[in-house]
C-alpha cells in the first residue's frame, strides 16, 4: 500500500446519506480477479446511462470535478456489502481521502488497508464544505501526521484517527508482515488449543 502523510486536493461533494457499496461498485464488476482497473466502474449506474454514455446530469461528470481526489459524502458512507472492490474503485479513480459524518465499519477498515484516509467529522462541518464545493470548487490540505485539515479560507479543522491506523498509513506498512512478528504467540496459542 502506498504511504500517505499529506494530501492536497480538490473536493468532489456527493450529498447523499447511506451510500452503499452496491452503488460504489455494482456487482457485475466484481468478477475480475485483480485488484486494479475498477476506477472506470465507480458509481457506475449514477455516472452512466443504460447505453454506457456519461450522464450529463450527474455532478461527478461535471468538468470542474474531473481532478477531484477528496470525496465529501453523507452519513453512514460505505454501508452494505463487505466488498473491498469499493475502496479499490475509489482509489483507482483517484480518491485518496473520504470525509463523511460517519462510515460503516467494514468499509472504514477496508479503506485503511488500501491507503485511503477515511475522515469522520461532525455533520455541520461536512455540510459547510459540501455546500462550498457544490457552489464553486474547494481545495483542502490534509495533514495526517498532525491530524488537521486546512481549507482555502484558512479554516483549520482537527480530526480524530486512531494512532495505530495513522502510523500504518504514514508508513505504508504491510499488515501481514507486522503480524508475522507475532508468529510465536500465534503458535503458542495454537499449542494451547491442541
Amino acid at each position: 500500500m502506498e504511504a500517505i502523510e499529506k494530501h492536497r486536493g480538490l473536493v468532489y461533494p456527493l450529498n447523499r446519506a447511506n451510500i452503499d457499496t452496491d452503488q460504489i461498485i455494482p456487482k457485475q464488476f466484481l468478477k475480475r480477479i485483480e485488484r486494479t482497473g475498477f476506477g472506470q466502474f465507480l458509481f457506475y449506474h449514477w455516472r452512466f446511462d443504460d447505453d454506457g454514455n456519461k450522464r450529463t446530469d450527474f455532478s461527478m461528470n461535471y468538468p470542474e470535478y474531473q481532478n477531484a481526489s477528496i470525496l465529501v459524502a453523507g452519513d453512514n458512507f460505505g454501508c452494505g456489502s463487505s466488498r473491498e472492490h469499493a475502496p479499490w474503485a475509489l482509489l483507482d479513480y483517484g480518491f485518496r481521502v473520504i470525509i463523511a459524518p460517519s462510515f460503516a465499519d467494514i468499509f472504514y477498515n477496508n479503506s485503511l488497508k488500501n491507503g485511503i484516509i477515511p475522515i469522520q467529522l461532525d455533520q455541520e462541518q461536512v455540510d459547510q464544505w459540501m455546500e462550498r464545493a457544490e457552489k464553486g470548487t474547494l481545495t483542502l490540505d490534509i495533514d495526517l501526521k498532525n491530524q488537521f485539515i486546512v481549507d482555502e479560507a484558512d479554516q483549520k479543522v482537527h480530526f480524530d484517527i486512531p494512532e495505530y491506523h495513522k502510523e500504518k498509513l504514514i508508513n505504508g506498512w504491510d499488515d501481514i508482515a507486522l503480524t508475522l512478528q507475532h508468529q510465536d504467540a500465534i503458535s503458542a496459542y495454537e499449542g494451547n488449543l491442541a
Binding site: 447523499r16 446519506a17 447511506n18 452503499d20 452496491d22 452503488q23 455494482p26 456487482k27 457485475q28 466484481l30 468478477k31 475480475r32 480477479i33 485483480e34 485488484r35 449506474h45 443504460d50 452519513d75 453512514n76 454501508c79 452494505g80 456489502s81 463487505s82 466488498r83 473491498e84 475502496p87 460517519s102 460503516a104 465499519d105 467494514i106 477498515n109 477496508n110 488497508k113 488500501n114 494512532e163 495505530y164 504491510d174 499488515d175 501481514i176 503480524t179 508475522l180 507475532h182 508468529q183 504467540a185 500465534i186 496459542y189 495454537e190 488449543l193
Partner: protein, 467 residues
Amino acid sequence: MKPETIVNKIWNKHVVHQEEGNPDLLYIDLHLVHEVTSPQAFEGLRLNNRKVRRPDLTYATMDHNVPTKNRDVIKDQIAQKQMETLKQNCLENGITLADMYHPDQGIVHVIGPELGLTQPGKTIVCGDSHTSTHGAFGALAFGIGTSEVEHVLATQSLWQDRPKTLKIQVEGDLGPGVTAKDLILAIIGKFGVKFGTGYVMEYTGKAIRNLSMEERMTVCNMSIEAGARAGLISPDETTVEFLKGRAHVPEGEAFELLAEEWLSLATDEGAVYDKTVVIKAAEVEPQVTWGTNPGMCVPVSGTTPDLSQVEHKEDVERALDYMGLVENQPITSIEIDHVFIGSCTNSRLSDLQKAAAIIEGKRVSDKVRAIVVPGSFSIKMQAEKEGLDEIFKAAGFEWREAGCSMCLAMNNDVVPPGGRCASTSNRNFEGRQGNGSRTHLVSPEMAAIAAVEGHFVDVRQFTGVLN
C-alpha cells in the same frame, strides 16, 4: 466472578496478543471462503511467497456466481474464470472446497451451520458481510474485506478493537403468523440502518428464546443491515439440539462435554452492556420495505411516508422516486411482477416449508414470475423428498439449484429494469437485484402470498389468524 456477556467471554478466550493502545490480535477458529472476495487475497499470498497457515480451519464454497439452472453452461467467461481460480487456489493450498457439483455446496452462511462447522464460542470470519448469520449459534462471526481475508489466510488471526455491546431485548411473544423476518425488519425500521455501527448486538428475551435455529439465523443475518458487524444469541438447548449429529460435530461423550462448554458461554445474569434497547414482540406486524435501504420499512397495513412528516425529506423523495412510488401510498396497493424466495436470510428448509404451505393448491398470478432457490444442495434434496418442489412447480414457481441467485443478481437471475420484486433476501439497495430493479423485502410467507395475489397482502388473512 464478575458477570460477563458472551461477547467478552469469547473475546477473552481468543486474544493471542495484547498491547496498550493497539487493537487485540484475535485468533480465528473458522474462515469461510467464496469465489468473489478471495482471488485477490490468494494472489497477494503468492506474490509475497506466503502460505495458508491453517487450511484445516478454512472451508470454501461457490455460491455468488453459480448458475441456478443448467450448471454446465456458464456463458459468462469472467465468472467462469473466477470459479476456476477458486478451485485452483484451494487445490494448491489444501483447502476443502464444496464446488458447484459437490453435495455440500450452497450459500456459505447456509452450509456452515448445516455441516456443523459453525459452533458456539468460535470466532468465524468470511469475506462477506452476512457472516453475522453464524452468530445465531453464539459464535462471534463477522464479515471482513479481502485484505483481511489475506491476513487470516496467512496468520489465522486478525487485529480487532474490542467491540461495544448492544443488547436487543425482545419482550413477550410474536403474534401468530408473525415471523423472525418481520421481527428483524421491524427492529431495523425502528432504530435505523446505523444504530448498530461499532457494536456487537446480542438478541435476548423470551421471543428470541422461542425461535428455532433457522429463525435465529434469519435475525442474526440482518444485523449488518443495522450497521453491526456481528449479532449473536447465547446458546441454549435449542442450539445444542440443532448441532447434534452434524458432520463436523463430535459424537458421544465428546459431544456431551462440548455441549456443556457451549452452554457455559451464555451471557451471565447481571452482565453489563454498553447500550440496551427494548422491543415488544406483540407489537410487530408483517413488514414490507418500501424504499432503498432495509430501514425504510413499514407494516403491511401501513403506507409509504408522508413527505411533510419526515426528517430527511430528500432521501425519502429520492427513494420513492427510484421505487416508482408516491407518498401515502398503501402498501397493499403495490403490484409486483417478480417473487424471489431464497438467499442466506430465508432459503432454509423451514422457509420453503412455510412458503409451500401458503401456496399449496393456489396459482401464481399471471403477471408474476416467481422462483425458489434453495440455500444448499442438501436443502434442495430434502425439500424434494418432502414433495415441496412439486407444490411450488404446480403453483407456477420455478425450482432452482442452490446459490445466491437473485439476492445480488451476479448470475443470470436478474430482475429487469423497472421490475418490482417481493424478495425474501436482505438488501433493497438501488439496483441490487439488477440495474433499475425495485426490491421489497418480506418474509417467505408474505412473498408466497404476494406471488398469488400479484400485490402485497397481509398473509395472516389467508392463514385464518386475522379475523
